[in-house]
Symmetry: C3
Subunit: 655 residues, 3 copies
């Protein structure tokens, strides 16, 4: 399985006279594939029904002439102004009932019938024209679904769609009333037509209603994506279908969307993400110019689990971005480090965004591989170095097999929605807890597969389940059958599929493997923690406590300061009744990993280790050089130990 | 006057087959009365004009069979969906002009003529059917007026109502122009029809306009409540009329609403209130699982002053709630402590919310006396213990007389509105200052009556007046005639009834008892304090300073660091020119109490003492046991000294 | 050039029987001019077409009788209710599409054709009636343009106006598409009629689109103002035309508005401004009751640069105001200090707001020279003292010439808009950086002229340019020709006029004097700083870094900790690549001032020095007395050295 570099390119942004030189310089740099065409609708169809294909024909040809493969995109993320003026119902509607207007991007409603039809039209035309073009080896469908919170819309079309969706799910209105529990607060409905979107209510809307609306909205993304994929497959046989997902855009479930594609790709912006996501200010300062050591790899491991073919990084940050609140400059070496880290975690391609910084419009401050005055920038030089190193590595080690961890972490998008809708504690943030579990595993040097609830669990030695409120009926049995050490986060099994408390109390369906009952919960404000202790190990518990009673035979392996159980174990299943500090979590996971027969090893804070294809990859996020635990007789293909700041080492251990 | 326990119950939430067992278990626990029916409209009238009374008939009968009294509620807090679809004008309108939609509760506008009429209809039907039912001894009107900020609406109906209200108040538009001072900024009106709601203006709307709008909105609540009470009294002779007010929902004046009822009740959620109200984060952490020692009692003392009959706690927190940002678990013993504290302050009934935690909908995480799987929860066990102790106490002491303090604290809802509309200092919060004064008194062991401005003041030794901008014309004379030590907060007398500065400067009408003039004021940002000193007592002043000049004969009893008077005294009247820190306030109040002939005694921080019916009640909010100042030969009926953490002691002092 | 005091007066707020006494007392106090009439529309025209001039005739006469000059205002800041009811399109529209309603002030849209016409009507009537009145020597046009964020409106009329404005600017839609770069994200337009206001988009609208909308909105203010001025000049020959600008209302460009007037005046509220503007909480507490020592003078120096005639302070804070979040009391002496400071910086008139505190409406807590019960307040006494001192000074020194600094600071309103629209770092605040540069110069005892980009630069020894993204084509040449030391802030020259990156990279047009290239930038979050060093001088850099490469011959005179240049110098031009801490900035400016042949002198923190007409003025903002660096043999006209807290000294140095 070979690995390669790509780049994102917008020929329409530049004078045609430099296209050829661009293409040749790309090829010379070691770039193999070029993504084009997303956002180009107004150039393809400048006026209704008037098409201009010639420039695009020529652009593709120029790239092909340079030996580059092309990833063609559908341009549906940016319908042009004239189309919006024709069909105002294309616009999504916000929670205040206002249309979200033209003038940026993603100004369309997934439920709009007009837009569905117009998208079919433009995608069909594009696919008919270019589907069999020999240089075009892949198609990207749309761009970054969910960006700018565009999954959930409150349009009339969405409301109609929601009613149909409910009818399909519940069949009768009585079944819905029963499932939701609408008798509460006299919210009973007489027909599906009485049901509005759960928005603009006096106080919080019914949580089951809200959860179903989020499920519906997520399904609409998958429906829309499938429409495009079906058209493309019909006209572009054998081409790879791909979408570029975006880090932590959790408003829709990525798994079903990915299931309709060949390759899941994601857009990796380690510095922008650090600034914009949940991290505390001191963490943001700590990793200012490198990103958090576990953030990109979390996403690599997540998207690796989405498609049979190796995932891609469709957009790789090449320098400062423009869209975070603050946009620092990556340290020299980080573009190379991020690139290799992606490959270490299984990427098939790392594609930089973008070839050249564009001097106009919203993203003019977003760096590229080249400066606006067309000189190779730092990121460009580092990409060139990576291209050379790929050759070295493939010469030394051949094509790299996909990595597989011995540890699985179960990730569930719907858990995010549920805790958002029904928090019970204001700062309980599902992705953060999932990330903290992942980070603890990674700081133990363990390779992790992030997988969906439906994943095959056989072969894992350890399975970590971040707070999982709703379980598939067979999950407990599958966890048990895996033979793995299973660690379950708090609030797991706490809800039924229609967001009710299970009749047998939480953890509901998990009682099959953990005969305990959560008879009470409490959430704790940020300035409150509870001490926790486990066999001499001291820590602090945050956010949440499940108060638990257990059947005989369940062991209390950690306890809170007031005596309530903090972690309970039954056979190979462990239930964590709270969220613990990083050290305590790491220590407990280390014990579990040892029990699972793994060989965890505490890494220095700035060092991360991954394994792929018989090779070990080491990455130093720190500002000091750092010793790599490579064992004796290791054969270094790239780098060395001690590993310099921002350094990458790739080696084969000899035992 | 006997005291008793009650519970809130929703038969419509549960299978009919468990109703009887529920009723029997309630009775066995010591519960005497059961509140039902609020929120049941969609079950009573599932479709327009189609009534289903049978289930409700049976539910009442089941409760009656178990010897329980029933508090029947009108279901008007939750009009069903079909009614909203019939009359869209029922919905309240927010400050942005958007209707606040169906899907939670309180989705009605007090000014909607449609809703007024529909409410008349459903209440009449209910009253006709059940008004004379022997088991129904009380009627609750609606539920928690004002919850979710539903008092003020900006609907067309409200606007029309406001114009009528203004016409009644001012008679001529000239009188209104004069009273408000509309010549300022060319805001003069030519007719009442030109006057809009004071919302959506470019900058702040006219404060007199805003204050009148708030008064109007408050009057609308009273008007609506009176409509229901009138219907109920006509059909349910001799039954107790009650509404369950909610802690610190100050958007309407509770006194006139209570005046139309027989019993004022309130819903006591000490932990939810602590988390959601003005308290600083460290205070919220300090009393996380007990609530603030003075908060529930502040409300008890407030609602005791609203009706001739003893107030009730209609809903008593039985465990964690679901609606605060964070929802901790009450410490064991707190449900009992809160229950006894209510009785100590004069409650006739403490009714727990709710019998059993419901596993669905918005409040599924709200604890009950029973867990969702129907086992008696901690709160249930504590309620049972209280039921037994009630018998002990009544055997030992007979029926308890209502408590009366020697100290009155004057509370005024309109003061809250006025300071909100016209703050002059962003963090000046009327209920907070009133509470701090109350807390200082309570930490001196003093029993306090919280009373309205119209209260009879004779017999009080000390009267504390939190910042009171607008005075009734006769208040100064009544304060003087009381013979009490009178302590007046800053900004008292600072405005006329139409929100102007009094012609003789503040404190306006209070100059009758305090011949001083506030010639200037200043507000201070939170990171600024001023030193204050009074006879060796040092403190800090916050928020606000009235700068004052005084006639001869007025004593300056405390001064700021820059020499301005901080407290002035004339005869028995004291004017506090600022808000002081807790210690200074407490010390000064102690001096005043001594001057008033009272016997203040500084209590430990966690201990509170109350007196009722010849008994002393002591409550320990702390985590350490604590000595109760019971004097010699006290006869303990419940508990002992030292008093355990979360302990209750009830004793008769023998002198 | 004589200097004098004025006052703002609202005869319509007071009973006519006290007008005469008011006028006489004003005159006795030393007041020379009285501003009246703004906000009086509803009294002039109480109903459509029904005029009441008599009261205004009499009010003017009463003032004239007392020997007072009158500044008459047009009343257009507050159209009356009946006018709004006639023409709903007068109301401005907010970013959510809601009309901003009647009920406060400035409820009009600069683009409304109805309001333009109605304004013409009322201004013409007023001008016809009073234009030649001998007592009326000046006309104020409207009041505080831009107050309450009223420059930018999203009405249909504004949208139409914007399209016309674009057509005039770009002529063809292709030119606009090219200038903005609309090919990005398929935002290409086919005609000007397709262009909406840049609001309500899914994510950020196109920055060039936004910048042009801001320019358009600013131009609309100038257009509206010019309409009124033209009418007034036609009917009021020889009268002074003035508008009262407001401190840091930067939403429109003040220079073109001022260019149509005779006198630029501003409204000086040092305490309100400190509380409401960008200052950190500890700075707000530090200067709580004095204001920041450089804030009023910054504005004096700014408005001095706007008109040939001496600027006025049209409204001078006379005590606490009502409109800041917190409103402290100025220390005794501050009203006098602020008044003299205005004169020291070139004011022709200082006019207090207001004669008497009004007891009603929105501003009832705003102090005046008199208390609401009509006694002379502190501010009144201090004004009286200033009136006397003016006589002393003018006797001793004659009429004072306008001050001129040797240092120019270039100020540009459009820079504020650009950085707001296109921040790249969330807390980069143009006025703050400009103010910090100014403050550094002032703490060196230097007199500063704040001037527009178009100013004549000859004669300055030092020119300081806060971050200036867009330059006029000739600025670099003019800077060079001035012969001054030129200090340029970061991000200068970073954009073209249509908000693109210059083809030759930043600093674009400045490369003529500074042959450097900013090849990359980074913004830094508030908890990150970078060390900086310059010849032994250590400091910290904040917010931003321009990473720069330089041609040979450019000197690196300061460097960041990681080696990147922090300040570069070429000949007399210095480029500051970041924002530095106050000490470092001050030290570097001191070096540059010395190189420029000036005599900077570090002043104590609380002392400020200004020069006018051969006199030196010293102001002590501190609470301790402080030595004034007056040299030997200075002749004190007012005050002395050491200078008392809040003291003013005026002296002639004898060398």
């Amino acid at each position: 399985m070979s690995i390669r570099l790509g780049v994102c390119y917008y020929p329409e942004h530049w004078p045609e006279e430099i296209w050829r030189s661009d293409a040749q310089r790309m090829a010379a740099l070691g770039i193999k594939q070029v993504r084009i065409g997303e956002f180009a609708w107004s150039r393809i169809e400048p006026s209704p029904g008037q098409y201009q294909w010639d420039w695009l024909d020529r652009a593709i040809q120029v790239l092909a002439d340079a030996g580059l493969e092309v990833v063609m995109c559908t341009p549906t993320a940016t319908p042009p102004k004239w189309l919006i003026d024709q069909h105002a119902d294309i616009l999504p509607v916000d929670a205040n009932g206002r249309a979200r207007g033209f003038g940026s991007r993603r100004h369309y409603d997934f439920s709009s019938p007009s837009y569905f039809k117009e998208s079919q039209r433009i995608v069909t035309l594009l696919a008919q024209r270019y589907g069999r073009h020999p240089a075009i080896t892949a198609w990207q469908v749309d761009n970054e679904y969910g960006c700018h919170h565009t999954v959930v819309s409150y349009s009339a079309a969405a409301q109609q769609g929601f009613r149909r969706w409910l009818q399909q799910r519940y069949h009768t209105i009585d079944a819905l009333n029963q499932a939701w529990g609408t008798v509460f607060w006299s919210a009973e409905y007489r027909s599906f037509d009485e049901i509005d979107a759960p928005v603009g209510t006096v106080t919080e809307a019914h949580p089951s209603h809200r959860l179903d609306y989020r499920r519906f909205a997520s399904d609409e993304v998958a429906r829309y994506n499938r429409m495009q994929v079906d058209i493309l497959r019909a006209h572009a046989p054998g081409r790879v279908m791909v979408h570029n997902f975006m880090q932590m855009f959790t408003e829709f479930d990525h798994y079903p969307v990915a299931a309709d594609l060949d390759v899941a790709s994601w857009d990796s912006y380690p510095l922008g993400a650090l600034e914009e996501l949940w991290f505390a200010p001191e963490i943001k300062a700590r990793w200012l110019r490198t990103g958090h050591p576990d953030f990109a790899s979390f996403n690599h491991d997540l998207y690796r689990g989405m498609s049979a073919q190796p995932f891609w990084v469709m957009e790789q940050q090449p320098g400062p971005v423009n869209w975070a609140q603050w946009n620092p400059n990556p340290l020299p070496g980080m573009v190379r480090l991020w690139s290799w880290e992606a490959f270490a975690h299984g990427a098939g391609c790392v594609s930089y965004f973008r070839w050249r910084q564009v001097p106009f419009a919203q993203e003019q401050m977003h760096a590229g591989l080249n400066t606006p005055d067309n000189r190779l920038d730092i990121g460009g030089h580092e990409a060139q170095r990576v291209a050379g190193e790929i050759q070295q590595v493939e010469q030394a080690a051949g094509a790299l097999q996909q990595p597989h961890g011995k540890v699985a972490l179960l990730f569930d998008y719907a858990a995010k929605w549920l805790f958002e809708i029904h928090p019970q504690g204001a700062d309980f943030h599902y992705p953060q807890v999932a990330f903290e579990y992942y980070s603890a595993l990674r700081s133990l040097g363990l390779d992790v597969d992030i997988v969906p609830l439906s994943a095959k669990l056989d072969g894992y030695a350890m399975i970590v389940v971040p707070p999982l409120p709703v379980l598939p009926a067979d999950l407990a049995a599958r966890l048990k059958a895996s033979g793995a050490q299973v660690l379950l986060g708090p609030r797991s099994g706490s809800k039924t599929a229609s967001l009710q408390i299970p009749a047998n109390l939480p953890p509901g369906l998990l009682q099959e493997i953990l005969p305990i009952r959560v008879w009470r919960v409490e959430s704790m404000r940020p300035n409150v923690t509870e001490p926790v202790e486990s066999g001499g190990l001291q820590g602090k518990a945050y956010h949440w406590r499940d108060l638990i009673e257990a059947d005989d035979g369940v062991q209390v392996v950690a306890a809170f300061g007031d005596g309530h159980p903090a972690i309970l174990q039954h056979e190979r299943s462990h239930y964590l009744a709270s969220v613990f500090d990083a050290d305590f979590t790491c220590d407990y996971f280390e014990r579990a990993a040892l029990a699972a027969g793994l060989a965890p090893e505490r890494l220095p804070e700035t060092l991360r280790i991954s394994h792929r294809g018989g090779l070990t990859f080491a990455f130093n996020y720190g500002s000091q050089s750092c010793v790599v635990p490579h064992g004796e007789h290791a054969e270094f293909i790239v780098g060395a130990s001690p590993l310099a700041a921002q350094g990458v080492a790739i080696y084969r251990s000899r035992h």
